[in-house]
Symmetry: C2
Subunit: 248 residues, 2 copies
């Protein structure tokens, strides 16, 4: 079993380490990339090919793990070079996912990483006709779950999840801002912990901290959510959209 | 120790049962009330006086537990008859609380019941100069917590809590509505349970069910929240306000 990575950032390197440890062969290419990436590829025991084209032609499963902005062009360029399965793991919208799927065709599998990659609770959600064939990766240490055979379901699920978790973060930021102005922060934490459970105390603090730290990214992600919401009726779109300003 | 109740609905009867079981004397009045209330008062062993005026004059702690719409007039009318402590337990806004407090004066204690009254996790939050004197009720089976000596803090804390919990319910209703339209409900539940913990599966379902059942009341409560939010700066008011339409 050979897995090829297009792009070699945090996702690719974390997954490669797990796959290699469990006996999978991994290929990628450092061509045109930084010295840091070259060292990372060598250090993990990933086979360094001459180009992404070679990577695409020399693996059983081709995984795109790039920056979101490059995902569509990379997908279109390399997704149909060989007859292998093409798994997109970029954090992109259902619309972008569809664009790649339309070019790659039946070999396309839509993947969404839930929770921080490499963490104990992290799962890769998959959808597409060939999703079951990628599920073999669970023999190589990865936690994967097939959602459906419909391309787009995994990324839709990811965006749905993100609406809820971002909304909760926004609610926490706003209520604790008011509580701060009233000098009732600690009391609010105690009050909410009654119904929200013991974990609430630490999880709420880390959510607020994390949301403020990555507010710019979250602000932009709300735009993707707004775009996604256009196709639904009977949804309080204004409520979801207006969380955006919390991350401004 | 004698506790007097102005009004004898669910809150008063539940608290009376706990107090009497732990050796506290409880008085109220069935004057002008339904046969059902009369039976409830007799059945629990509450002393039935001739009027609320008599109740106010013959107890150490006077508790108002009425409907929110009557809270202010009841408070103004009976809150300063005798020299006992007056505890308001109605589900009212910080503004209404202040109105009663202004009439009753230093004997006024602002109370907020968190979680369903009588449940294991239920706590009565108290604020006001005499709040510590009411804390004696914990010797009679009640779980009480003094927040501060400032009238209004308990009801402010309750409304803060309600912003968060209502917001979470609204987020659940909206995201699961979208998931339903995509046939991804069960997958969304599983996905969120990864980060939100094991309790999420049951708590989210009961929150959605409960919010839809009591949507009218929640819709009206958002108006109180909107009114409350006016006094704060640096708050994404639009986000909190717009949850209202989820309960329409």
């Amino acid at each position: 079993m050979i897995v090829g990575f297009l792009g070699f950032g945090e996702v690719a390197s974390t997954l490669s380490e797990i796959l290699i440890e469990d006996g999978c062969e991994v290929v990628s290419s450092s061509n045109g990339r930084s010295l840091k990436t070259l060292k990372l590829i060598k250090g993990l025991g990933v086979k360094d090919l001459n180009s992404f084209k070679e990577v695409a032609e020399n693996c059983d499963i081709l995984i795109s793990a790039n920056t979101p902005s490059k995902a569509v062009s990379i997908g279109k360029k390399y997704g149909s070079i060989a007859d292998n399965i093409f798994l997109d793991l970029n954090n992109i919208s259902p619309k972008s996912t569809k664009k790649i799927g339309d070019v790659v065709g039946e070999n396309f599998v839509d993947g969404a990483i839930i929770s921080k990659v490499g963490s104990d609770e992290s799962v890769i959600f998959l959808s597409g006709e060939k999703a079951e064939e990628i599920a073999i990766l669970d023999h190589f240490g990865l936690s994967v779950k097939v959602i459906s055979d419909k391309i787009g379901d995994a990324s839709k699920l990811k965006i749905l999840r993100s609406i809820y978790t971002k909304g909760v973060s926004a609610l926490l930021i706003e209520t604790f801002e008011i509580a701060k102005q009233l000098n009732l922060e600690e009391d609010l934490l105690n009050t909410l912990a009654i119904s929200e459970g013991d974990k609430f105390r630490s999880s709420s603090k880390s959510r607020i901290k994390n949301s403020i730290k990555h507010s710019r990214r979250k602000y932009e992600e709300v735009d993707e959510i707004i775009d996604f919401l256009k196709e639904f009726e009977n949804v309080n779109v204004e409520f979801i959209e207006s969380m955006k300003n919390t991350f401004k």
